[in-house]
Symmetry: C2
Subunit: 339 residues, 2 copies
């Protein structure tokens, strides 16, 4: 038998078809700083307007929110998720997003699925003035099951060296301000899927169930996109000392990443609303409080650190920012205390 | 039953253990331009030394070479592959590599496997003076089977705007110079695995077979790392008009990516050696000639375009560069002609 690459599960024509479908979305994100067009081996971005640029980069996935998205056929939304996640990551250092690149891998390439993902990514990129500079679509039979996929995002931003936010100036007595999340964002889905028995073999479509606690169906609540905090925080970055993006590991693992040695963050529970989905998850799965706070964002998508003297101004500029705690000396214990 | 994130297949302690194992490798790539340390939400790179910098970025995977590497337990080598692939991609635009980021996803996180991958990536990064600025390790039960993984690389380089190589100045009569590949690099593995029946269910360890055509076992030949052309080409970039990196799609799909409209590349077969592995693949799989050239690099890892007047000097500076063809007017046919 004559072997071909297509028979081995890799179809280059399908790949070319995909490129044709995504071109217009990708181009819609191109500003004058993008040189060249789609199809080069590298994406070209002309860096301008910085005296002493520090590039800030991050790589991320969306975890097994992929599985929920695939079951509901909601790929556009997943495209928003990955870009917003990446934008938030570099925003923690004070960076404005310059360009984004994606990697999409599937067992069997479905051009329409990739196009839907890319349309979401392009929309999110346009929203923050970021170019979708390139990407890679891989068809890998034998690694991904036919309906499965992975989605990875890479982002590069820039910030003037003197404006880098790194938490170094955080002091005891500084204030913790929390920004509300909209649902799980992109973390904790393996646990959530288990608690709600969401699988592709599920005959009852568990994601269609309306729980009395939730205002919409479970699927809608779980697919709520990762919120992007860049437009909100851009004007107030100069008075922020540190920013923690609450992703995998929750408040417990993420907040200490920006705290100087010897300091801890004390949160006052009850000072921010915990969305109903988290209570439902906890009760249904009989998940411990500790595990909840180490797995989910529990209603806080970002935590900002600022001096008490700047708090009032900052809360006026960003009314959503809630005072949720304070910085204290670390007494040998954990970097995060939940009271 | 009390649910935990670990029971759902995601182990944050294992993730922290992984970070501890890879730290020294990652730090070994840090030069003075890297600000901050491991563990921030974004990697920080201080860009210096450019008047009018153009950033060049690329995202890539290693395809199903992953499967072969997993069977042979050769993860370090796969780390070399992904970095070299990415470095070559941005080299096509004349860029020097600044920093690299990786994404590793597994069904079940194995810290030693990640450490081995990262040690390979760090070695390759040091080799070209590139920082391994960060990355993401994802544990995704239900998307990847226990032994499976995916590895994605993302690179950012820079080049002075006036030195960008983009193929625009290529003219009829220009010379094609080919640089030898070392084996399959990172493309065509789905077909190769099928032809040689390399699967994890294989009881005879097909990769241990020594074919008379090959000087080493099949596994050794297939795991040969993707070659990095940056050190070789760096000194001669000023006289190169265009560079094609021969990856998925082979000469047929990759060479036209740098050719101006109306031009074609005519290759003279027999002017470069085709490694034995390709002949073996073709015979065993009864693969057509056309399919071979559209799937594999067929012995050429990179194709350079230069003016005839620069050829002698260039070949003296890079003795490996073989004259393999010429640029001609495109007569309505394909962008690549193989004679």
């Amino acid at each position: 038998m004559t072997e071909t690459y297509a028979a081995a599960g890799v179809d280059i024509d399908l790949a070319n078809q995909t490129v044709a479908l995504i071109k217009k979305h990708v181009r819609s994100t191109f500003g004058p700083q993008v040189l060249g067009d789609i199809g080069l081996f590298g994406g070209l971005f002309h860096l301008q307007g910085y005296r002493e640029p520090v590039l800030v980069a991050s790589a991320d996935g969306v975890g097994t929110k992929l599985k929920v998205a695939a079951l509901l056929g909601r790929y556009h939304s997943l495209g928003l998720d990955i870009v917003h996640h990446c934008v938030n990551d570099i925003l923690t250092c004070g960076a404005e997003p310059l360009f984004f690149m994606d990697y999409v891998a599937m067992g069997k390439l479905v051009p329409e699925t990739v196009a839907s993902l890319v349309s979401g990514m392009a929309e999110a990129c346009r929203g923050v003035g970021c170019a979708l500079l390139g990407g890679e679509t891989a068809e890998m039979p034998g690694i991904y099951a036919p309906g499965d996929l992975d989605l990875v995002g890479f982002i590069v931003g820039a910030v003037e060296r003197e404006n880098v936010i790194d938490g170094r100036s955080i002091l005891p007595g500084d204030v913790l301000l929390g920004l509300p999340s909209q649902g799980l964002h992109t973390n904790g889905y393996s646990l959530a899927r288990r608690v709600f028995s969401i699988t592709s073999q599920d005959p009852v479509a568990s994601w269609d169930i309306s729980y009395p606690e939730l205002s919409r169906s479970l699927g809608e609540v779980l697919m709520e996109p990762h919120r992007c905090y860049y437009p909100l925080l851009k004007p107030v970055l100069p008075c922020i000392k540190g920013i923690a993006h609450i992703t995998g590991g929750g408040l417990v693992d993420n907040v200490p990443r920006v705290l100087p040695d010897g300091l801890a963050a004390r949160f006052y529970r009850g000072t921010w609303p915990v969305p109903a989905i988290f209570g439902l998850l906890q009760r249904r799965g009989d998940v411990t409080e500790q595990e909840m706070y180490r797995t989910f964002n529990m209603g806080l998508g970002m935590v900002l650190f600022c001096a008490e003297k700047d708090r009032e101004w900052l809360q006026k500029a960003v009314p959503e920012a809630m005072r949720v705690g304070e910085v204290v000396e670390r007494q040998g214990g954990d970097g995060v205390m939940l009271r």
